[in-house]
């Protein structure tokens, strides 16, 4: 880690520049603002007040996944301060960006806040505790090893004066001046007093009375509203618009063209679009809806999901590109004893060959409950930003880039996020707001209509996949070739959970390809694994069945020696009531997918009515993520990811026609609702607690669709190879 993160020098240097930080519509200050009172900043991560209240910084965005609670917990564990004394404060994005990434990263995704970032976050707490001890040792004139820091209190026995005691708050100013010779080590599992306990998230009560502030809730003096429209066929460009036709409408102030600089923009570049600015968002939206606009649709106009599917099928009919070990982003896990070369001969000479049919998944949108929104106030000497982002530093840099301003003059204020799921990464809404505010000289709030949100989202890509396998005398595969086709913008997604599947097939070959695609693509809760798991885990069932194996026993056999997987599979066998023979239109199915370092298994019980309607009666999850620091939030996230993916499995699916997404609101892009929710969802955390940290915000999604599809197979004898399942003929 960077030692400079923990020194006070950075703070002293820049504190004057953040003192003017705005406090508009905010209930939570940044550390600098907290320290502007009489609290002392020990290091960039925390301040301690004279009342022994500790304010801990959260650089990651809170979107319901618990970053706001997990980060303070990790710091408090090391600092050793009662949880009631802990307050959460937001990281100052400006300070982070202009001080060599002070908090290492502000990116919030990949289920990584705890799993990947705990070493330096816990270090910040350990370092502060150590400096408090040094400060007490000096003031009391006792050896350091006699000073104990526990639950916010420093104590020591002194030879002459007896027992000495003081709060952290009393030593905070001294501690801030201490420089450590060496950083203390962070605690190991087993030494924890707070981590591992069920702790309620700190953001819960703010979200039961409307107090939590999202970008859409921010107001700035003199602010106006903008509705935006980019080309409905992504990559297309604005040719002309007729503002004269709408400028007399109520409240309308201006039209602003948003210019695309790059020929083919990436998802965070400003895309060619036009905005109407008005006194109310409703007025802006109404005027934009009737303003004549001419577009050049570009190359995408001839692309549809049907044309992409036809292209994928023709690619699957030939050999694809071989996934090689050195392609770390695609071939992770290929070191599990893979032999590519022998596969074609073994398949050609197989005595028992299994040939898979083509499976597929469609595009899906994030459709976060808060449509993308940003407020930007561009002034001569500073820019203030509130936006939909999963990375405050990245978005600050994007606004600075858009306006060609020094990052020192751009202030991005973290807010709550109305859902993220990856959608808050590939977003140009703050560039739009910045460009509009600069153009009209007033602060502006851009809100995307739901239709604009879904039409312009960075979508989860489609995938098409199939396989062939040669089985040996024991019915187990001796050679396997998979061929998955994704799309050209993020082809690596088509291999996540495929090339690195854990099944011990001695000879494996993984091929991939990509179809033409102009639709923007982005991360989407368990990217790649979410769609690919549907294919791999139905393949596993088909191979088991072809070889005469029970699907659960097959997986146990095929992952022999892989302890993390065995723990999940054996728990499923022991606890789930597993059977493939329920009868009466009922079925049980299972699937296991590893993503974000966590192995998640799902057992689904379904029933199918005589008219072919599918009911999900029960979902059981068996999760092995290694350490779990907060089982309550772990279960919340397991339920959440499961229902997220079940919604796409049963109902979702974007339709792409003439280059544009056509189902762009909740009447046509159907998602999970209360009556569709399974009556029983059980989450079992099969904790291994053995020096390993997996993520928990996403992994129960991927095994859900194949577990349900496998269950439908055992209920009906019909295998469904695409989603949404509710449209399948049963």
């Amino acid at each position: 880690m960077n030692q400079h993160n923990l020194t006070r020098r950075n703070f002293l240097k820049i504190s004057t520049s953040v003192a003017g930080g705005l406090m508009i519509g905010f209930n939570i200050p940044t550390t600098a603002e907290a320290a502007a009172g009489d609290a002392t900043e020990i290091n960039a991560w925390l301040t301690i007040g004279p009342d022994n209240i500790v304010s801990i910084v959260t650089p990651q965005t809170e979107m319901g996944q618990g970053a706001w609670t997990a980060i303070p917990m990790m710091v408090a564990e090391e600092l050793d301060i009662p949880w009631e004394n802990v307050r959460n404060v937001r990281a100052d994005a400006n300070r982070h960006v202009n001080n060599a990434d002070l908090y290492t990263t502000t990116s919030t995704g990949g289920s990584s806040t705890v799993s990947k970032r705990h070493p330096y976050i816990m270090q910040a707490g350990a370092s502060a505790r150590e400096r408090l001890r040094v400060a007490a040792s000096k003031r009391w004139n006792v050896p350091l090893d006699k000073v104990v820091a526990k639950q916010g209190i420093l104590t020591a026995e002194h030879e002459s004066s007896g027992k000495l005691q003081g709060t952290y708050g009393e030593f905070a100013a001294d501690a801030a001046a201490v420089t450590l010779e060496a950083e203390p080590a962070i605690k190991a599992y087993g030494d924890w007093w707070l981590l591992g306990k069920e702790v309620k998230r700190l953001d819960v009560s703010l979200k039961t009375n409307g107090a939590a502030i999202y970008p859409i809730d921010v107001s700035v003096d003199g602010m106006v509203y903008a509705a935006v429209q980019a080309c409905p066929v992504p990559e297309g460009k604005l040719v002309s618009y007729d503002f004269e036709a709408v400028k007399g409408m109520p409240g309308v102030i201006a039209a602003v063209e948003l210019k695309q600089v790059k020929d083919v923009p990436v998802a965070t570049d400003l895309r060619s679009a036009v905005a109407i600015v008005a006194e109310s968002w409703y007025q802006a939206k109404n005027a934009l809806a009737v303003m004549p606009i001419v577009w050049d649709f570009g190359r995408g106009a001839t692309i549809s999901f049907e044309s992409q599917t036809a292209e994928a099928l023709s690619l699957l009919a030939t050999s694809g590109t071989l996934v090689k070990d050195e392609e770390g982003n695609i071939g992770k896990g290929l070191d599990r004893g893979v032999n590519h070369d022998a596969v074609p001969d073994l398949i050609a000479s197989a005595s028992k060959l299994v040939t898979g049919e083509v499976y597929s998944r469609p595009f899906e949108a994030h459709a976060t409950m808060m449509p993308p929104c940003a407020v930007v106030d561009v002034k001569a000497d500073r820019v203030d930003v509130w936006t939909f982002t999963q990375d405050i530093a990245r978005s600050l840099n994007e606004v600075a880039d858009q306006l060609a301003r020094d990052t020192k003059t751009v202030f991005l204020h973290q807010t709550h996020l109305g859902g993220g799921f990856g959608g808050g990464y590939n977003m140009d809404v703050h560039r739009q707001a910045a460009a509009i505010s600069e153009s009209i000289g007033r602060p502006v709030k851009v809100i995307r209509s739901r239709e604009e949100d879904i039409a312009q989202d960075s979508q989860r890509p489609p995938v098409w996949g199939t396989y062939k396998a040669a089985l040996g005398d024991d019915g187990l595969p001796i050679a396997l070739v998979t061929h998955f086709v994704g799309e050209e913008k993020k082809p690596a997604y088509s291999q996540r959970g495929v090339a690195n599947m854990p099944y011990l097939v001695p000879n494996r070959r993984h091929e991939y390809g990509a179809v033409k695609n102009h639709i923007p693509i982005g991360a989407h809760r368990a990217p790649g694994a979410n769609s690919n798991g549907f294919i791999v885990e139905q393949m596993a069932d088909e191979l088991a069945q072809a070889g005469g194996w029970d699907p659960l026993d097959w997986r146990i056999k095929m992952t022999e020696g892989n302890e993390p997987w065995q723990r999940v599979l054996l728990a499923m066998k022991e606890k789930s009531g597993w059977t493939t023979d329920m009868g009466n239109g009922e079925g049980m199915g299972l699937a296991v997918v590893e993503s974000h370092g966590t192995i998640a298994g799902c057992v689904a019980n379904v029933s199918v009515s005589r008219r072919g309607q599918i009911f999900i009666d029960k979902l059981q999850y068996f999760i092995n993520s290694g350490y779990v620091i907060n089982p309550l939030v772990a279960r919340e996230q397991a339920e959440s990811s499961a229902i997220w993916e079940l919604g796409h499995t049963m109902f979702g699916g974007l339709q792409l026609r003439d280059g544009r997404i056509v189902n762009t609101n909740f009447d046509s892009y159907t998602l999970m609702r209360m009556p569709d929710t399974p009556p029983v969802i059980e989450v079992n955390l099969e904790m291994s607690q053995d020096q390993w940290w997996g993520g928990l915000g996403e992994p129960t999604g991927p095994p859900t669709p194949p577990a349900v599809a496998n269950a439908i197979f055992y209920a009906t004898g019909t295998r469904i190879r695409t989603t949404p399942l509710s449209k399948a003929e049963l």
């Binding site: 968002w281 976060t368 859902g419 339920e639």
Partner: protein
């Protein structure tokens, strides 16, 4: 047009287009931002408020139709965030991203005022208009039962 809206027992004099959806009058004119915009076509329920005792989607309700009626928003559910529905929501840690929860809570409050001990089926029916992308449905269902218990 100048109109008076009675929101949470307080009169707000506002000047608006009578066709403007109630949602935008509440958010932009009355300055109460707890009520959210989600879809604009009454499909997601994020904008749910209670008008004369009934849960209403404010995003497609013209503001003129709410004049002379009692409008309740999330800010008016309780003064101290301690209505039984809010308490149950906190106990069962229902909200995740939280964006849909104002609407969920208003639908639940209206349901419990009309049916103090709802069955699962009644809950499904009353809550079907409120989408939650975080998938907090099982916790919402349990929290409505809990709120019913707390109200007894």
């Amino acid at each position: 047009m100048a109109i008076t809206l009675n929101i949470n027992g307080q009169d707000h004099e506002i000047d608006v287009d009578p066709q403007m959806p109630l949602l935008w009058a509440i958010r932009e004119k009355a300055g109460l931002t707890g009520t959210k915009f989600g879809c604009g076509i009454a499909q997601c329920g994020a904008c749910t408020v209670i008008v004369d005792g009934n849960a209403v989607r404010s995003c497609n309700t013209p503001v003129a139709t709410a004049v002379g009626k009692a409008i309740r928003t999330i800010e008016g559910v309780s003064a101290n965030n301690d209505h039984p529905v809010q308490v149950a929501w906190q106990e069962l840690t229902v909200p995740q991203c939280g964006y849909c929860q104002s609407g969920q809570i208003m639908s639940a409050v209206a349901l419990l005022e009309n049916s103090p001990s709802p069955t699962d089926n009644e809950i499904d029916k009353a809550m079907a208009g409120n989408i939650c992308r975080c998938g907090t449905y099982p916790r919402i269902r349990a929290a409505i039962h809990r709120a019913a218990e707390l109200t007894k």
